[in-house]
């Protein structure tokens, strides 16, 4: 791999790189970006501050999407038996139609609306005269055609502006239809600064309208919820496989391969495990406050991390049999994983990666790259908040700005009838004394080496510069970034949608990921970019045979 070895030789100084990135910006922009580009100097117990969850700069080509995308696309998208009806012009529903790779298994005769795209397709007269009537009728038509147990309505930009009261419309329709839960999400695209606001809006409504709807107690000895797992490329299937193998029951997943009833029963679980801290940590808090279910941070990306998370769950339940079973499963799964990692490491060891995705993957996936002997030299989130970088300890002093102000924070209190602390004060203390940490997340920064570059809301221009200057062996982001990076001769892996691959979670997922990255960084194709005549362009002035 000529290209690879070249890269080894590249030297770079983070300060110089940062300077390079900022050079071309107008002063205002440069000042702003300077705070979002961090040269890591994390020390023992002091994490540097980064500016995050702030406005995207107009005209600067960002990776970010909108609130609607976060709400409809990410959170509600994967729930198969809810009819997701988009209230607005056709585009928003069209673009969110089957374009995320969250897989679902409805079985042979289960309800599945994931393959459908529902919209009120607002026209100009709706904008002028209001779209409430059309929305009500659309809900009725959807009901008459499919008789779903639930219909969710999503607002797109114009809806808020023209003042359609979608919540009243849905409330009325819910009453009218009787056996169908109808509710709405005010997730207009202009709200907030990124998808993140959409996650929040979605989760709030799920908590408000669905969670707690079904008190029936599901069987299972060790019952958990998996929060912030979206079953991209089948990750959730692999995690379910492992949990089942361990004898752990997953009551609900928010929201990969989920159903309405899973949400409705979420409050009957005894532990909340949080995968994607960014998109859902507040739901975990609300579930604890209202129902007394504690939560812990887990990570099933990376074989070691998976083992660690399983042990952490087992430790919570404090059941010897469970712990033994968990150890058995780990012992059973790890050899295959290690065999592959050992093999690929001979080809991937020492290579470098960059990662700019989501609110947690840019952190989680470093586990997998470490297991392959690859170093992450730069990373950052697309829509995370400071706590995802610096850890939850900064939450108290996060200031609410103009953009976050309007994103509702639900006030919850203990449910009179259903609040039931799963652990006594004493038990909790004991666990904590033994080093067990609840509702704890230290963020991305402490896990990254000094001198690495941590960049929030990386944009197209900076991405290109980073690749040119630091020449990583692989770059991870989303579809919009994929081909501009690859044009530079650097393989690009989508970590939102996994391109066409996956699962990458759990043990089997780790194996898939090792092989995939091995394929990418060692593909012959990167050696074809230059034609032979570019390698040695010398020319005989005349026909060679003469």
């Amino acid at each position: 791999m000529a290209t690879a070895t070249n890269k080894k030789l590249v030297q770079w100084d983070p300060a110089e790189v940062k300077e390079e990135l900022l050079k071309k910006y107008p002063p205002k922009v440069a000042r702003k970006r300077a705070k979002q580009i961090l040269i890591n100097e994390a020390l023992e117990n002091e994490t540097p501050e980064i500016s995050a969850n702030i406005r995207t700069i107009p005209g600067i080509i960002s990776m970010r999407g909108c609130t609607y995308a976060g709400c409809k696309g990410v959170i509600m998208g994967p729930t198969r038996d809810i009819v997701n009806l988009v209230h607005g012009p056709i585009g928003c529903s069209f673009y969110a139609w089957l374009t995320r790779r969250n897989q679902t298994d409805p079985g042979p005769d289960g309800e599945n609306y994931m393959t459908y795209c529902f919209s009120t397709d607002m026209q100009d007269q709706d904008i002028i005269f209001g779209g409430e009537k059309k929305l009500a009728r659309a809900i009725q038509e959807a009901y008459d055609l499919f008789h779903p147990k639930s219909i969710a309505v999503f607002a797109t930009c114009p809806v808020g502006l023209i003042g359609d009261d979608i919540h009243t419309v849905t409330k009325k329709m819910k009453e009218k239809l009787g056996n169908c839960n109808v509710y709405a999400f005010s997730c207009e695209g202009y709200k907030g600064v990124s998808q993140s606001a959409g996650h929040h809006i979605a989760n709030n409504q799920v908590f408000r309208h669905i969670v707690g709807e079904n008190d029936e107690v599901k069987p299972g000895k060790f019952k958990i919820n998996l929060l912030g797992e979206y079953n991209i490329g089948g990750d959730g299937f692999e995690i379910d496989r492992i949990l089942q193998k361990c004898g752990i029951t997953c009551i609900s997943t928010f929201s990969g391969n989920s159903t309405y009833d899973q949400f409705a029963s979420a409050h009957t679980a005894d532990l909340n495990t949080v995968m994607c801290h960014r998109s859902i940590n507040y739901v975990a808090d609300m579930l604890e406050t209202k129902y007394g279910i504690p939560w812990i941070k887990v990570n099933f990306i990376g074989a070691e991390a998976t083992a660690k998370s399983l042990r952490k769950i087992a430790e919570y339940f404090g059941d010897k049999q469970l712990s033994r079973k968990v150890e058995e499963v780990i012992a059973e799964e790890m050899p295959a994983v290690e065999a592959v990692s050992k093999d690929v490491r001979t080809r991937t060891g020492g290579k470098t990666a960059m990662m700019f995705v989501g609110g947690s993957r840019a952190h989680h996936y470093q586990e997998l790259f470490n297991e392959m002997g690859m170093k992450t030299i730069s990373a950052g989130y697309e829509f995370a908040h400071r706590d995802d970088y610096e850890g939850r300890h900064v939450i108290p002093n996060l200031k609410v700005d103009a953009d976050s102000r309007n994103i509702e924070e639900i006030e919850v209190e203990a449910d009179e009838t259903r609040y039931k602390p799963r652990k006594s004060e004493k038990q909790t203390k004991a666990l904590e004394k033994a080093g067990y940490t609840f509702k704890d997340y230290d963020g991305l920064i402490p896990d990254m080496e000094n001198g690495t570059l941590i960049i929030d809301d990386l944009n197209q221009y900076e991405a290109e510069k980073l690749v040119e200057l630091m020449k990583p062996d692989i770059f991870c982001a989303g579809i919009k970034e994929k081909f501009s990076v690859q044009k530079l001769g650097v393989p690009m892996k989508q970590l939102h949608s996994y391109d066409s691959g996956g699962p990458y979670a759990g043990f089997k997922g780790a194996i898939n990921f090792y092989k995939e990255i091995d394929r990418l960084v060692n593909s012959k194709v990167w050696g074809y970019m230059k034609a032979p005549w570019e390698e040695n362009p010398q020319l005989s002035a005349t026909y060679c045979w003469e």
Binding site: I90, A96, T120, I127, P158, L488
Partner: protein, 457 residues
């Protein structure tokens, strides 16, 4: 079943669109803008629109698609987007330095009533637009028309760049409409061959079918230059391919710069290509070169050779009006029976054209402008077909109904080749025919009993 809840029985829907056969204006405007050399498309709205359009175009072309956005916040939505737009112009020219920014609006900025020409004027007077650089704009509200409308609107804005000087440039404007880069390349080849000097706009060839060479250029070689667009006002005439995609721009040039125009169908299939080639011939006053006559003859030859596999086969089509009109005519000319035809774009004109084209068919035809794929699927369930032609979303119908299926249209997200091989012109007709025959014959091979399995087809 993937679309397990779709019933055969058709019930009236007044408010609910299911599985649309269209999307919104802005993406069309963005695609058109990419056909201008050195142009950065800009979406004046909240950032999600831009992200969605870029993703969709990227998945279709497997190429980088750069575009910027005004990233509206809630504040901007209330107080108007002028500040965001002006800031965008400054940032774009200083960071990306394009030749031109092509701005299109969104439902958001349209609803709040931002006036782009005025904002642009302001930017110009405030010196935010560097010398020799341009900002053009099109109004593309998502709640009017479809992606086709947006494309047409941006193409019209391109025509508005025209600066008639009175001196003719002896060129012909050719507006290809929403076709693939490879199609635009092929149209240029045909035009060259016939000896017509032309200005093709928009022209995404060289922009969205680029090479992998180790360098990334945000603004590749391809695209119609602003210089060319300015001189469209001096052209001797305009050939607009496609009433829906291209006619407005052509008529505007006629009205504003007295550049006469003819509106033709898109040159898909034998007859539409015949009309296009004949128009060029008459314009240029030349005889058709052997090479083109030969390509035509090859297409006719292949039709005659394979006629038995096409004869009276039923087809269902979904796509955009201009493309469907030409494709329907092509299938009819092959003695096939296009029986279900849906476009998401409204317009009685469309249904009328289809009815004319299919009037001699011995069977009933379902045609709907402003329909959706849910309806198409229901039609197919009640009247099965031998062939389905449409974009990638059709794969769910094709699998559920076990139909031979040719991917054609926008978007194609799951197969390669459309970027590189034209389907316009006679050679394009050969390719379409090869694809159609391919899936039909694969089906014959798959379904024939062992005793009827054939070596020679």
């Amino acid at each position: 079943m993937l679309l397990r809840h779709t019933p055969e029985k058709i019930t009236e829907r007044k408010a609910l669109t299911i599985n649309p056969a269209k999307t919104c204006q802005p993406i069309g405007a963005m695609y058109a803008s990419l056909g201008i050399h050195g142009c950065l498309p800009h979406s004046h709205g909240s950032q999600g629109c831009c992200a969605y359009h870029r993703s969709t175009l990227t998945r279709h072309y497997k190429e980088p698609v750069s575009a910027s956005t005004s990233s509206f916040t809630e504040g901007a939505s209330v107080f108007g987007g002028q500040a965001n737009m002006l800031q965008s112009i400054t940032n774009i020219f200083s960071v990306y330095d394009p030749e031109v920014i092509a701005v299109h609006t969104t439902c958001l900025s349209e609803t709040i009533g931002d006036d782009l020409p005025q904002i642009t004027k302001k930017a110009r007077t405030e010196g935010k637009i560097p010398e020799g650089k341009d900002v053009i704009s099109a109004s593309t509200p998502s709640y009017v028309g479809t992606h086709v409308t947006g494309f047409s609107n941006m193409v019209k804005s391109m025509a508005m760049v025209a600066e008639p000087t009175g001196r003719k440039n002896h060129k012909v404007n050719i507006i290809p409409g929403w076709v693939e880069p490879a199609d635009m390349e092929e149209i240029k080849r045909l035009v060259r061959q016939i000896g017509v000097e032309s200005i093709l706009f928009p022209d995404t060839s060289g922009v969205l079918n680029g090479p992998l060479s180790g360098e990334y250029r945000m603004f590749p070689e391809g695209g119609t230059t602003m210089e060319e667009l300015r001189s469209t006002g001096n052209s001797i005439g305009t050939l607009a391919l496609g009433e829906w995609c291209s006619a407005d721009a052509a008529r505007w040039l006629d009205k504003s710069s007295h550049v006469p125009c003819s509106v033709l169908d898109m040159p898909f299939g034998l007859k539409a290509t015949d009309r296009f080639i004949d128009a060029l011939r008459i314009i240029a006053g030349v005889t058709i070169p052997e090479e083109i006559a030969n390509e035509r003859g090859q297409l006719v030859d292949m039709i005659s050779d394979m006629h038995q596999y096409l004869y009276h086969k039923k087809a269902a089509l979904v796509g955009d009006p201009d493309q469907l009109i030409a494709m329907t005519e092509f299938l009819v000319s092959l003695d096939m029976h296009p029986v279900h035809i849906v476009t998401g774009t409204s317009g009685k004109k469309f249904e009328k054209r289809i009815r004319e084209i299919t009037k001699d068919m011995p069977c009933e035809v379902n045609v709907k402008a402003g329909g959706d794929m849910f309806l198409l699927h229901q039609w197919i369930k009640s009247e099965p077909v031998d062939l389905l032609i449409g974009n990638t979303y059709c794969k769910y119908i094709a699998r559920d109904e076990d139909l031979p299926y040719v991917r054609w249209g926008f978007p194609i997200l799951d197969r390669q080749g459309h970027q590189y091989f034209p389907t316009v012109g006679y050679k394009g007709g050969l390719r379409l025919l090869e694809k159609i025959l391919g899936v039909l014959m694969d089906r014959v091979d798959r379904d024939s009993t062992e005793q009827k399995f054939e070596l020679v087809l």
